[in-house]
Amino acid sequence: ESHGGYTFALVPKAMNNPFFDLARDGCYKAQEEIEGVTCEYIGPGEHTELEQIQIVQDLITKGVDGIAVSPSNAPAMAKTLKEAEAAGIPVITWDADLLEDDKGLRAAFVGTNNYDIGVELAKLVQARHPDGGTICLQTGGAAAANHNERLKGARDTLAGEDMGEAPGDMLDGQGGWTEISGCPLITNDDGNVAVQGMTDILAANPDLTAFLSTGAFTQWFDNAYRGAAEPYKDKMASGDLTIVVADTLPMQIAQTKDGLGNGLVGQRPFEMGYLAMQMLKDLKDGGSLQDPTYTGLDVCTNDNIDSCVE
């Protein structure tokens, strides 16, 4: 409707998270490159489930031409998306998907498989410690579905068996891995809390084999993280300790380069933002979509850190 072009909304979980900033950049890039597409990037300021739903409702009311949403609360979002269906507004999901039963509500999913992130992180750990050991997992917001998926992916892989419904049961010797008491650590996506938690756990468990975080928050606060990891640099270099973290933000790459981490598994948020626009445009133009569309993962180790992200 706007100048004959389309306005598509890209709805993140929260706008104060640098991960989503990259998606926004991709979205704007698509706006520049793809004819007749306007990107409206809007989401809750902070990570609140209800507010995201309200925003989607308002977007439907407003009558945008398509919505790409990364649902915070999948079942709740599904209900709202029924309204979009009724209003004839095409929807795709990105970054996070709806529950299995509700998948009919969106045309496609673009993003990464959260479970796979956990798998890749676990593989990085296993490569360095084939015999297993003790591990501490760190996760994001309380009951965040994507982090729970990643936890399950990691646990299943480490255990070599199905550890039950996400986030899986705590490892207790399966596959040679044991989760220490006090973990998994909840961070509520607060970088400071994440660093403090990691610091304390490493101090309390000098023999810890691996520390695995399902979110970048652990490494957001560059200096704080560096300060916390510095004392363990030698142990990491010698292979006695492994720290792996999800995502590949610039400061994370630099930290890994400096030997303050042993591996990163990155999503491609920029691509997600770009592709979301592309796919909605295709949908509007009558094309069909591949579902799911995976943007792939960047797996970085200390060895390939210079080349793992293009």
């Binding site: 706008m15 809007i42 989401g43 809750p44 300021g45 902070e46 609140t48 489930e49 209800l50 507010e51 739903i53 309200q54 925003i55 409702q57 308002d58 977007l59 439907i60 009311t61 407003k62 009558g63 609360n73 999948a74 079942p75 709740a76 599904a78 209900k79 309204e83 209003a87 529950l99 996760t139 917001g141 309380a142 009951a143 965040a144 579905a145 729970n148 419904e165 996400a166 986030p167 909840i186 509520n188």
Partner: protein
């Protein structure tokens, strides 16, 4: 000249300064005048006028505003907060505060969802939800009324504790399978009757109920009296402690009802639900005319305050103002609302 003999320790004279103006300022003018005159003097009336004004402006700014769907959404979104604000009004009327409602929403939701997931019926779920609320309210109330701890501190502690318990109980998992009664449960929270969301009906009924309670029941009268002068209420033979406990229980149970409807609407429960909602609920209550000094309560204030907060959010988005500004306007309106009352009170004298 005079001969002074030792004076006893203590004695009473006006230990507290008495300032007519301050007293007048601190308690909203409320007179038993009926009819239009009385209504026009209240804060909710003026907030309502503000709502109408914003709505009028918005109906020009955006075609989407006055649509049935938008109205449906606005009313439903505000209803959860409105229900919680009804309970908060009672607490604030006693010069208390309840910071734990947000956490409690999460805890009630988790307990409710776990019970349903375990295969129990929706009635059992409701009972579990309300029981959770009642227990938390009871603990708050007892610590405040009998142990005489400050409401702010007690409920701040409860905020942390309830959230923690919710995490432990849920083992940090999201729950979205509600057992055999899933359908009816989700309809209660998310469905509508005659085109009006069920939760709005609940809000309407509860508002009418509270209107009755504040105006016509002895309990309501006692709560207002305690807010005005707890000491005097005590001396008049009112069981102040028990009433205060009941007030915190009422507040918690309003949150319990909101949780029940909310989980049914969202279709899933996480322990993170309701984080920072306490501030929204308090803001709605204060915008609706509650006075933190106690002694003032309006049943209509809660829904009206909640409506204004939701309307601001909705309007900003529809008007295309960046979402980043949203909180700014909510904060601004909160301050303007109390400023309005301040000015109105001064003018009235």
């Amino acid at each position: 000249m005079t001969d002074t003999t030792p004076t006893e320790e203590h004695a009473k004279t006006a230990q507290q300064p008495i300032d007519h103006a301050a007293i007048d300022d601190s308690i909203t003018s409320r007179q038993e005048v009926t009819g239009i005159g009385a209504i026009i003097r209240t804060q909710p009336f003026w907030v309502f006028v503000a709502i109408l004004f914003i709505a009028l402006v918005m109906s020009f700014v955006s075609d989407a505003f006055m649509t049935e769907r938008n109205m449906f959404n606005i009313t439903r979104n505000m209803a959860y907060f409105g229900i919680m604000a009804l309970g908060m009004s009672a607490v604030i009327c006693t010069a208390g505060i309840d910071l734990s409602v947000g956490s409690l929403l999460g805890l009630c939701g988790i307990n409710l969802a776990l019970v349903l997931q375990a295969g129990w019926g929706v009635e059992v779920g409701f009972i579990a939800c309300m029981l959770t609320a009642a227990i938390v309210g009871f603990i708050n109330g007892v610590l405040i009324a009998y142990v005489r701890l400050a409401p702010f501190v007690v409920t701040l502690g409860m905020l942390a504790m309830a959230r923690s318990v919710a995490m432990v109980v849920s083992n940090n998992k999201m729950i979205y399978e509600f057992g055999p009664d899933q359908e009816i449960f989700e309809w209660i929270g998310g469905g509508d009757v005659l085109g009006v969301p069920n939760v709005v009906w609940v809000l309407i009924i509860m508002t009418l109920l509270f209107l009755w309670v504040w105006r016509f029941t002895q309990w309501g009268r006692w709560v207002i009296a305690i807010g005005g002068n707890a000491h005097a209420a005590k001396l008049a033979g009112i069981p102040v402690e028990r009433v205060i406990v009941s007030v915190y229980m009422v507040c918690s149970m309003c949150t319990g009802i909101a949780a029940f409807m909310f989980i049914g609407y969202t279709g899933s429960a996480t322990n993170a639900m309701g984080v920072t909602y306490e501030l929204n609920v308090i803001a709605a209550t204060v915008i609706g005319g509650a006075n933190l000094m106690g002694g003032v309560v309006y049943a209509l204030g809660a829904p009206i305050g909640a409506a204004l907060v939701e309307l601001i959010r909705n309007s900003l988005l529809l008007a295309g103002i960046p979402a980043l500004w949203q909180q700014f306007f909510v904060g601004l309106f909160l301050i303007l609302a109390v400023l309005l009352e301040q000015i109105r009170n001064r003018g009235g004298k």
